[in-house]
Amino acid sequence: MSGIAHADEIGGDWFEAGLEESQKKFVVFSIDDQHFCVDIMSVREIRAWVEETQLPNTSHVVRGVINLRGEILPIIDLRKMFGQGATQPTNRHVVLIVSHEGKLKGLLADAVLDIVSVNEEDIRSVPDSIVGNRQHFLSGILLDDDRITTIVALNRLIEYAITETIAA
């Protein structure tokens, strides 16, 4: 049994369940058959995918912008970020609205799977076996039985999207 507590184990009110000092909560989502997660403190809301308005002269990982209650924010295609090609989204796909340095961004993924609670000491560093530029955008991994869930380094991901756009 790993040190990772899943939403259904914590019980109904997982949001209210007290977090111990050294625990972190993550939102787990999938792209194809791979599991990823992001710190729950960054996630503002989760929405169904809607069509973006395309932007010119922008990084290839940014699909475009959407209107969220009057604010315009960019949608980043995570599948493309991790080098698996462009997503063909439907309204079954999800967008995680995250806040980073006070700015909102949308992350396009296939589905949201779970909320997990993890002890800090159970977070492992990214092994060298994960090759290529993907490694740069990951900040750690979670091991649950045989399941690997990689933690997304949100800041580096966003920085990439912005830098690429400025260079465009």
Binding site: T53, L55, H60, V65, G70, I72
Partner: protein
């Protein structure tokens, strides 16, 4: 029971205003006609600061304020000349006071002796005055000890929640911004409703159509009234400039006078703050590079004191600010030579005087003979231009050698809501700011000309205007299958003639006109970053996002001005 913590924010923002006024008053001590009024005004302001600081027992603040007040008391009835001599001391004391108050706000601990030097200076002047005085009475009540200051009347104002001295009210900025956002959303909904109010509705439901139109007009009034809340007189930006001029003049050994007009011209709050930088830069350049030393001025037959005039006025939908000096003016030949040396133009390029003068805005340009620590070298003008562009405005320069220099800033009065033309470009809905549109051309195909190596142009009235086919231009960088769909060579019919900030012309191909309407500008930069070619986005009545095109940026993306563009006539070939 008074909640001191709750009234502190009011105290700090009141002090900020009073300190700004003190800055103006003390700076005015150098002007003979303004000095007496300034002294009285300063006295009242420092008395207020001292009094309200007493409420919170900010001892260090009170001590400095008291010394300033005492010295002012003794100075009020003096000759303007004596006031001028004390101006520098008062300004330094004001700065120290400002620092002490700021420290109370942030909790910073300033060194114990921080205010000592200025206190010494003030006290020296005070005792010098006391020695002169032969026991004459002043008609202003004397407070010898800080504790005598009566904070009570001030406190009543603050605690009672009433306005301070005049009929203004303090509102948190967030509340105003929220109100503005709500009104913006109303405008969007309103556009959506108005789309349905057409002739047919007037026929079938005349009363409904009329009621909606009436409601629409009222919404417009509401919007104007709300936007007016954020308006501030441009004088608030001007307030700190006289002092800047004094310091720059002193540093450079020049004699400079600055005057203002149109201080009451109202501009949107958002523009006020962003104007401060460019105006400061322009004043620095005028003092540092434009104005000559007194001896040189007299040799040229000018008065030894250089003059800078800042004039603001509203002109239609725009704000026009002119900063002019009567200095040495721009030397077009020298600029041309420097531009050639810096590889900005070549020997053979033919440029008009305006175009040559405009070169000073290019990055990396400077004719300053030596590095001056006031304006640095070669960085001033292009930053000013960038700031003004970011405000949606432009700069025009008018100058001739020996006759000074006049810089005209033209800015939109508000950049939160603009008048826009909604168009369809290759299937994508875009918006062009109405202020950038000069003309609409139909049947443009007949006027198309192709120039080898340079591209397509529209010929109108002997002018060749660069033609922009945006669906090839506005493409995602590494992704040619997204972005605007490209079109095969179809007949060009509709084109909009637009003008960039620098006055360059561009013709943009349009597929359809979708109407003119008020556009609420939404920032893309806020949650993302600046996008080339785009100045923002808007949400249309049906919820769709439309991109607002940035004409100047598009012009740059096309390569900017081609050297020798005006001599294209020889290369023209008719389109096949």
């Amino acid at each position: 029971m008074i909640d001191y913590e709750a009234i502190k924010p009011t105290y700090f923002s009141e002090c900020a205003d009073l300190l700004t006024d003190l800055d103006t008053h003390f700076s005015d001590f150098s002007e003979i006609d303004k000095a007496p009024d300034a002294a009285l005004g300063a006295y009242r302001k420092i008395h207020s600061i001292k009094g309200s600081s007493g409420v919170f027992d900010f001892k260090r603040v009170i001590t400095v304020a008291h010394e300033i007040e005492t010295l002012l008391q003794g100075t009020i009835s003096k000759e303007p000349g004596e006031l001028a001599a004390l101006a520098a001391t008062f300004l330094r004391a004001r700065d120290i006071l400002s620092d002490l108050i700021a420290a109370e706000q942030t909790g910073e601990q300033l060194p114990g002796a921080y205010e000592q030097p200025v206190l010494e200076e003030l006290r020296q002047f005070v005792s010098a005055q006391a020695n002169e005085r032969t026991g004459q009475d002043s008609d202003i009540p004397k407070d010898q000890k800080p504790e005598d200051a009566d904070p009570q009347p001030l406190l009543d104002d603050v605690v009672g929640g009433r306005a301070f001295v005049n009929s203004t009210i303090r509102v948190e900025r967030d509340r105003i911004d929220n109100l503005i956002n709500q009104v913006s959303e109303i405008i969007i909904s309103q556009s959506s409703v108005m789309r349905h109010v057409d002739e047919a509705l007037h026929q079938s439901h005349p009363e409904l159509a009329q009621a909606i139109s009436h409601y629409f007009r009222q919404s417009v009034s509401l919007q104007d009234a709300v936007m007016a809340i954020r308006a501030q007189p441009i004088g608030t930006v001007f307030a700190s400039l006289p002092r800047l001029v004094r310091e720059l003049a002193a540093q450079s050994g020049k004699s400079v006078r600055i005057t203002f007009s149109g201080e009451n011209t109202e501009i949107d709050q958002t523009v006020v703050q962003r104007l401060y930088g460019p105006l400061t830069h322009m004043i620095r350049n005028a003092v540092d590079h434009g104005l000559e030393l007194p001896v040189d001025r007299e040799a040229a037959g000018k008065h030894k004191t250089g003059e800078i005039v800042v004039a603001a006025a509203q002109q239609g939908e725009c704000l026009r600010i002119v900063v002019s000096d009567d200095g040495r003016g721009l030397d077009a030949e020298k600029i041309r030579q420097t531009a050639i040396k810096r590889d900005l133009i070549t020997e053979t390029d033919k440029l008009s005087t305006e175009e040559i003068n405009g070169l000073i805005f290019k990055s990396g340009f400077s004719t300053a003979g030596r590095i001056s620590d006031i304006s640095g070298r070669g960085i001033g003008m292009d930053i000013i231009l960038q700031d003004i562009h970011n405000l949606g405005g432009r700069i025009l320069v008018n100058s001739s050698p020996g006759n000074g220099c006049e810089m005209e800033l033209i800015l939109p009065l508000s950049f939160a809501v603009i008048e826009g033309m909604v168009v369809d470009i290759a299937g994508q809905t875009c918006v062009l700011p109405l202020s950038a549109i000069r003309q609409c051309v139909s049947g443009a195909a007949a006027h198309m000309r192709r120039v080898p190596d340079l591209g397509a142009f529209l010929q109108l009235n002997d002018q060749l205007i660069r033609f922009a086919d945006l669906h090839r231009l506005l493409q995602n960088r590494a992704d040619n299958d997204s972005g605007l769909p490209s079109q095969t060579d179809s007949e060009v019919d509709l084109a909009l003639l637009v003008e960039t900030h620098e006055g360059a012309s561009l013709a943009i191909k349009i597929d359809r006109f979708l109407g003119q309407q008020q556009i609420v500008v939404k920032s893309i930069e806020e949650n993302f970053t600046r996008i080339d070619g785009i100045s923002g986005a808007t949400v249309l009545g049906d919820g769709e996002i439309a991109l607002i095109l940035d004409v100047s940026s598009i012009y740059e993306l096309l390569g900017g001005k081609i050297a020798g563009e005006t001599s294209l006539g020889e290369h023209v070939e008719t389109a096949a």
